[in-house]
């Protein structure tokens, strides 16, 4: 592993037990049902970079985010941040010191701020918890943070309900920055916002990255937003990363058949009238995913091997057809109409 990788996620897995209760299960003579939400994800993020995970619902992107910040213990695998393992068995002192440097921004700013706390107290909490300033200095620091995210220091005396969705997301960002975090995991930070407000928040996040050298793990289902924000993008499908590539390359020459399908499905504003391949089928049930490559039932290039063997992630893409040279990146074979 090279030393400029700030975050290393190695073969991360998470299984959820979604079985019915014991009695019901026994009466119906059913076995346990396990859902592999994340099934062997390995990615690394460089310092100061924005790495994005995209995927549709159920692809496991939010589960990865929650494991990276430590909100959810992984079933297997390891998350190493700045050389310290977040998932080692013992809670070492190094890990406690690391916690301060990692923060998260959630999707819904209406749910992530305590409605009974004043904004000043919300932002001051991490400062006090980590003992980052003396009591007299806290207020000053809160004002500084509010100004940093484009709000007024006087807003500290208000309650969250007095703010609009976009302003609340600014407060959430200020809280994340309060602990002098270096690595911020953003789980769909603008999905609940209107487009013009989204633009304000995305611009703010980029400005802050430039000024403070932040590293972002950006989770989103919106490919256009991801293209705007990220340097490197990982595409997830049913718990696995199917393609990792620099943003420019991913959009110019997508390689995995799923990535191509996803890019084709996005309605575009330019109305270029480009021909598109109709989308085939839907995401299968993650409790009983298809064998081999989970995308095989929807893939025009699938063959016997794809149905049998899970393709490994090699050269940034997990697809037998690409590895075998059966998929020409230039022209995708026509898929029969729906």
């Amino acid at each position: 592993m090279s030393s400029d990788n700030f975050v290393d996620i190695r073969d991360l897995r998470r299984v959820f037990d979604v079985s019915k209760p014991w009695l019901e299960r026994t009466l119906a003579r059913e076995g346990r049902q396990l859902l592999k939400a994340v099934d062997g994800v390995t990615v690394s993020i460089r310092r100061g970079e924005t790495f994005a995970l995209v995927g549709e619902s159920g692809s496991g992107k939010s589960t990865v985010a929650r494991m990276v910040v430590g909100l959810l213990p992984p079933t297997a695998g390891e998350v190493v941040i700045d050389g310290v393992s977040m998932t080692a068995a013992r809670d070492s002192g190094a890990r406690k010191r690391l916690r301060r440097r990692i923060q998260m921004i959630f999707q819904d700013p209406y749910a992530s701020l305590d409605p009974r706390w004043r904004v000043g107290r919300i932002i001051a909490e991490p400062i006090r918890a980590f003992g980052l300033a003396r009591e007299q200095g806290v207020e000053e620091r809160v004002g500084e943070l509010l100004r940093l995210v484009g709000l007024d220091p006087a807003d500290a005396a208000k309650f969250p309900h007095e703010f609009s969705g976009g302003q609340r997301q600014r407060i959430a960002i200020a809280r994340a920055l309060a602990s002098e975090a270096e690595f911020i995991v953003c789980d769909e930070p603008t999905s609940a916002l209107d487009v013009s407000v989204q633009a304000q928040i995305l611009n703010l996040m980029r400005d802050l990255q430039d000024r403070l050298g932040l590293t972002y793990l950006f989770i989103s289902h919106n490919l256009a937003v991801v293209r705007h924000m990220a340097a490197t993008i990982g595409v997830m499908y049913l718990g696995r990363v199917v393609e990792v590539a620099p943003a420019k390359q991913l959009f110019a020459a997508p390689r995995h058949p799923y990535t191509r399908m996803l890019l084709d499905a996005v309605p575009d504003l330019a109305m270029s009238g480009r021909p598109r391949t109709p989308v085939q089928g839907e995401i299968p049930n993650p409790i009983s995913p298809p064998s081999g490559c989970t995308f095989n039932p929807r893939c025009a290039l699938a063959n016997e091997r794809c149905r049998r063997e899970v393709p490994p992630l090699r050269d940034g893409v997990a697809c037998h057809a690409v590895h075998e040279g059966r998929a020409d990146p230039q022209d995708m074979p026509e898929v029969a109409a729906v």
Partner: protein, 344 residues
């Protein structure tokens, strides 16, 4: 020109609250022709959904249509009695809402819901209605419809449910379909399927569609004309190509610029300063004036009317100000935005 399917004139909708009368729609006017898809866009609170609800007569008290006219094929429908309106709703105007799970009754089989709707509106026997329901399900792309017709809504995936809702909306061959955020709850790959389907079905039948959404991409791909709404008013309306690629109204231009796209990589998105006004405090004159980079005295004093040039209409004083070269202004803005982008 032939008579439009739907014609809305100077529609005002008000909500009476303790804090006074809120005007959710303020003199909204538009037409939708046969087989035409009109996209209605705007941000939360712009009045898009209220417009849809007003057309189908589902404004709940304390809301009320304060003034204006809604005509369906020339007949007024805004002043019909609730019973008469029920004949129109479903029969002549079909509806598709955002969440397919709440549009379907979870306790009834999909087929029973379709048959009930068909028989309410069309004089068909139960057996004939069932055959018709199977045909409809096949048409909306549900595999094995003879078998799936006896399934319950929870046995269908989100995309399949929205297909069923589409079949329900179209089962009485309505003249107009109102689709309120039909794909917002769906994933992109499923969204593409539903949008293509909606467009194809309505084109085949000549059904007029009012497509309400906040997703400009969906509009650009689907609609023939677009209305951009702001604070309960129509800011700009015109052919989709003109409005999306050459918006004139400063709000519409800002909105288009703020959307990240797959085609153009920019470092900075266009930002509209400030935020949407609350309905309790809509600015005097043009509702957009406090946020507008071009606002001048007239914008505060006087509300701009929707002024049309050809098919394109804009509610902005600059559009008809003598001595102001509007095109040049828009161009200057574009250049400024481009410079801002390359600098960032």
């Amino acid at each position: 020109m032939t008579e439009p399917v739907l014609s809305v004139r100077d529609l005002c909708v008000e909500f009476v609250t303790r804090r006074g009368v809120l005007r959710a729609l303020d003199r909204v006017s538009f037409d939708i022709g046969k087989g035409e898809v009109l996209g209605v866009v705007g941000e939360s609170g712009a009045g898009k959904s209220v417009t849809g609800s007003a057309v189908i007569g589902l404004i709940e008290p304390p809301g009320r249509i304060a003034s204006g006219e809604i005509r369906l094929k020339g007949e007024r429908i805004d002043n019909l009695s609730p019973t008469a309106m029920r004949q129109v709703r479903g029969r002549r105007i079909g509806m598709v809402f955002q969440d397919p799970l709440t549009s379907l009754n979870p306790l009834y089989r999909v087929g029973d819901q379709l048959v009930e709707t068909i028989r309410t509106h069309l004089p068909l026997s139960a057996a004939k209605a069932r055959t018709r329901a199977i045909e409809l399900l096949a048409e909306v792309g549900i595999p094995a419809p003879e078998r799936r017709i006896d399934g319950y809504p929870h046995e269908f995936s989100g995309g399949m449910r929205q297909r069923v809702v589409l079949a329900l909306a179209l089962c009485a061959e309505p003249e107009l379909v109102i689709a309120d955020e039909p794909t917002t709850a769906l994933d992109v790959s499923v969204q593409a399927q539903i949008i293509t389907l909606l467009k194809r079905l309505c084109r085949e039948r000549g059904t007029a569609v009012m497509l309400i959404t906040h997703d400009m991409g969906v509009i650009a791909e689907t609609a023939d004309r677009v209305a951009v709404m702001y604070a309960g008013r129509v800011a700009e309306i015109g052919p989709v190509r003109d409005v999306v690629s050459r918006p004139f109204h400063p709000y519409a231009a800002g909105l288009m610029g703020s959307i990240p796209t797959l085609e153009t990589a920019t470092d900075r998105l266009v930002q509209i300063p400030g935020s949407m006004p609350r309905l309790t405090a809509i600015p005097a004159g043009c509702a957009f004036n406090p946020r507008c980079p071009h606002a001048y005295a007239r914008c505060v004093a006087e509300r701009p009317e929707l002024l049309s040039r050809g098919a394109h209409a804009v509610a902005c004083h600059l559009y008809d100000e003598p001595g102001v070269d509007a095109e040049a202004l828009v161009q200057r803005d574009k250049v400024a935005a481009a410079v801002g982008r390359s600098r960032a």
